[in-house]
């Protein structure tokens, strides 16, 4: 059944506290039993400056933003057109502005949305310590059907430190907003949530990533701050300390990747998190981890590239560097999270994969997942605990072979401290003992072993999430990955609701490729569209390189921070089934 949801944006310049307002609203909605998704966008200023909180609420789990917003609540208009492209409005959208700040700028009006005014600052001005953003929240709550008590609880909790006076002032402004909403045009209202037994969490993608790391068994993290990955580290630092782990802030990314190589060589599962520019600096040492067979996890929270690009906006354009970026032939693992909650699953799985195969596993998430907060069903417990095959006892008279050529390709690893198994791990090509060798036979044998261990591994069904429309797969496939999955999933649902048949394949295991599994998934499919958020269609090109795609395959790609919403994907589905 089609998702019944309401989408709105709160925007304004820094001091207006739009992000705080958005967070309060999300928390209140969560308390009211709804599901929610909140993303943020902000201007270049470090503090203050314009910002927007984009929210969507529903009584069921939410995978994606909608194609347009029902409501834009603008506390003021400052630089708001900078976000215009990221806030699609439709003819039935409603813009609510404060008349004290004048009219909505033309840049917002191309779709001819409805417009009205709400004197937020004037209303707030009448209340001691009243703030316009609380008035806005009151109006929004009334318009979307959010119970007032839900907000009361949240405000009490969040303003406790500031005292009862602050709480009362906020709630007074809130109620004034509720009252004022009576005169405003209407937007869709959500039903109150049916009390469900299902436990729900409120979590960001970056927090989920951090939790996945700890769940998987990581106890050493070294990293260098970078937007939009820093929150992973900020969550991890105190959390690791609680479970006996350590986080070190390194001098740069070259240091952080090498510190985790050292820690992991020491037997402690390790990871780092970064974004494109930092990943670039880690490339040489990722190759070292491949050659010396040191397990580790590197999370790349992608942002707009190339170069420093746009640090605060999302793009799926680090696929190439993640898959192909290393010099030489350096087989390794690349996995990608396809939703806020999947950040937890995929990262935890990555720790498991890295440890099991003694190789680096790169996890791709992006700003849109990492910095979004979602109210989600409680994630399942997972069995993926990093477990490394170790060598524990020396065999009398036999020199330990760190890089023994085994059938699985995995060579039991001796951890420093183990008597009788001392050896030197090496990034130079080596023989089975680890001694540097320039003989082609050693190179060949080690290359094959390193490839074998990751191609023969049993990845189970996790390589992709495959979803069929309610009436079965039909002959159309959407192939996608990462944060493009949400809109694709919603498009599929809508298509299904109108009787369409299609299959969604969201690839989680980007590398190594799984041609047999993909062939099975594409069985009976005659047309496919590949959906991604990159200017050059990196994912499409990679699919072409390694898979046999249906003859009629359409590449749908576009640079971030924009992407394909459900409607554009649905449109293509409809045109094919017309």
């Amino acid at each position: 059944m089609t998702l019944q949801s309401v989408s709105l944006v709160i925007a304004g310049s820094g001091g207006a506290g739009v992000v705080t307002a958005g967070s309060l609203l999300l928390e209140a909605a969560a308390n009211a039993g709804w599901y929610a998704l909140m993303s943020r966008s902000s201007g270049p200023q470090i503090r203050g400056g314009e910002a927007a909180a984009m929210l969507r609420f529903a009584t069921e789990p939410i995978m994606s933003h909608d194609d347009s917003y029902h409501l834009l609540m603008a506390i003021d208009w400052e630089n708001i057109t900078r976000f215009a492209a990221e806030i699609p409005l439709a003819a039935d959208s409603l813009i609510v502005g404060d008349p004290a700040h004048g009219n909505a700028p033309a840049g917002l009006l191309s779709a001819k949305p409805r417009e009205t005014g709400l004197p937020m600052s004037e209303i707030a001005g009448k209340i001691e310590n009243g703030r316009p953003n609380m008035v806005a929240l009151g109006a929004i709550a009334a318009m979307i059907g959010l119970p007032k008590e839900a907000m009361q609880t949240v405000v009490e909790k969040n303003l406790k430190r500031k005292g009862q006076g602050a709480i009362d002032a906020s709630m007074e402004a809130f109620h004034a907003g509720v009252a004022a909403a009576a005169d405003l045009p209407s937007i869709p209202k959500l039903p109150t949530a049916s009390a469900s037994a299902e436990e729900r969490w409120s979590i960001t993608g970056n927090e989920a990533t951090g939790l996945g790391v700890i769940r998987g068994g990581v106890r050493f993290v070294a990293a260098y701050p970078i937007t939009p990955a820093t929150e992973i580290l900020e969550w991890l630092a105190p959390s690791l300390a609680k479970v006996g782990g350590v986080l070190v802030q390194a001098e740069d990314e070259l240091a952080s990747i090498n510190q985790i190589i050292g820690a992991s060589y020491g037997g402690v599962p390790s990871m780092t998190a970064t974004s494109g520019p930092g990943l670039s600096l880690m490339i040489e040492s990722l190759g070292l981890a491949v050659a010396a067979e040191v397990p580790l996890v590197v999370v790349d929270v992608m942002r707009v590239g190339p170069s420093t690009g746009i640090a605060t906006k999302s793009e799926q354009s680090d696929l190439n560097i993640a898959v192909y970026g290393l010099h030489g032939d350096a087989p390794h693992i690349v996995v990608a999270a396809n939703s806020v909650s999947d950040c937890l699953f995929t990262t935890q799985w990555a720790v498991h994969l890295a440890e099991a195969m003694q190789t680096p596993a790169l996890v791709l998430t992006d700003q849109a997942l990492g910095q979004s907060r979602a109210v989600i069903p409680r994630p399942a417990e997972l069995a993926f605990i990093g477990q490394r095959e170790t060598a524990k006892t020396a065999v009398e008279g036999e020199r330990y072979k760190r890089y023994a050529v085994t059938a699985s390709g995995v060579s039991p690893m001796a951890i420093p401290g183990t008597p009788g198994l001392t050896h030197t791990a090496d990034g130079l090509e080596h023989n089975e003992f680890g001694t540097p060798s320039s003989q082609s036979s050693d190179h060949q044998a080690q290359m094959e072993k390193r490839l074998r261990k990751i191609t023969q591994f049993n990845y189970g069904d996790h390589w992709a999430e495959i979803t069929d429309s309610d009436n079965g797969p039909g002959d159309i496939a959407i192939i996608t990955w990462g944060s493009s999955t949400g809109p694709a999933r919603e498009a599929l649902q809508r298509f299904s609701d109108s009787g369409g048949r299609a299959r969604l394949i969201s690839v989680r295991l980007i590398a190594p490729v799984q041609p047999e599994k993909m062939a099975a998934a594409l069985e009976g499919i005659s047309r496919a569209m590949v959906v991604e958020q990159s200017h050059s269609g990196q994912f499409y090109r990679m699919l072409r390189a390694f898979y046999d795609l249906p003859k009629e395959t359409l590449a749908m790609h576009q640079a971030g921070p924009l992407g394909f919403g459900p409607a554009r994907i649905l449109e293509q589905l409809n045109s094919w089934s017309a």
Partner: protein, 278 residues
């Protein structure tokens, strides 16, 4: 099994591998002194790790019988830092060259001194890139014309590893000569014993690309004064010495080593998760 105190000889710390070094290379002596020091410290080989980058001198790990890690050029110090922080009970050493440590690895050198993790860094300074067949390193004199890359000399002030190490916070500083392996072993023992980041510069001639360094054995002299714990005083001394005062510890600091707490605490993952639950 009964715990028996094991006794070790220097040769117990040597592997069977034949070094790729040129006959006469100073690094042979460093390998000897290192194994002698480890024997004297009575450390079981499996509780020691030697980490290195790339260069002739960086080949040492595989020539020892302890745990070794031979990483990429210039990144040995962060590898060792991660290893020591994750496994504080191990004795962690770093060995390498002047190019590896002070050219490409310069930033990690600065921050390792500053961070003061309890590791010992032995730099075989031959004022040249041996492995890549003879280019100027940061410690090369500005008028050395032996490299085709800088045929008229580098024209650049040599890097002063001990002064910079001191200025950045190294907790133990010594200079030794590969012509005196016994003294070198002694100093390495002291360096390992001293808590925090210890820096040992070894004058280790490259007989192939700097044959004139054969003279070093005659030029070096034992430093006249004993070490100081006063950094400003040590700085003054080091900034005025000519680089050939060897055989003694030059500075010993008292800063406690960096060692973040990470004893398993009461906390559980369930507690972390509870904070997300609504």
């Amino acid at each position: 099994m009964e715990a028996v105190a094991r006794k070790f000889k220097p040769k117990d710390f040597k592997s069977e591998l034949k070094p790729i070094w040129c006959p006469g290379c100073g690094d042979y002596t460093v390998l000897n002194a290192l194994t002698r020091a480890l024997a004297e410290l009575e450390l079981p080989p499996e509780e020691v790790a030697v980490v290195s980058g790339i260069g002739c001198s960086s080949r040492i790990p595989a020539y020892t019988s302890v745990y070794g890690f031979h990483g990429v050029h210039g990144r040995a110090l962060p590898v060792a830092t991660g290893l020591k922080l994750a496994r504080p009970e191990l004795t962690v050493l770093v060995t390498g060259g002047d190019g590896d440590g002070f050219s490409i690895g310069g930033n990690h050198f600065l921050h390792a001194c500053r961070r003061n993790v309890d590791i010992t860094y032995i730099v075989m300074d031959n004022q040249v890139y041996g492995m890549t067949k003879g280019q100027a390193s940061p410690t090369t004199a500005p008028d050395w014309e032996g490299s085709k890359l800088t045929p008229e000399g580098t024209g650049i002030n040599p890097f002063q590893p001990l002064v910079v190490g001191l200025a950045s916070g190294a907790n133990f500083i010594a200079r030794v000569s590969s012509s005196d392996p016994v003294n070198m072993a002694q100093i390495i023992v002291e360096a390992i014993r001293h808590p925090g980041f210890s820096l040992v510069q070894v004058l280790s001639p490259c007989v192939t690309f700097r044959p004139e360094q054969a003279e070093w054995r005659d030029i070096v002299r034992t430093a006249v004064v004993d070490f100081t714990g006063d950094a400003a005083r040590a700085a003054r001394r080091l900034m005025t010495d000519d680089g050939f005062n060897v055989g003694k510890v030059l500075y010993k600091g008292e800063r406690p080593p960096f060692r973040p707490e990470h004893e398993p605490t009461d906390g559980s993952i369930a507690e972390l998760e509870a904070r997300f639950a609504l």
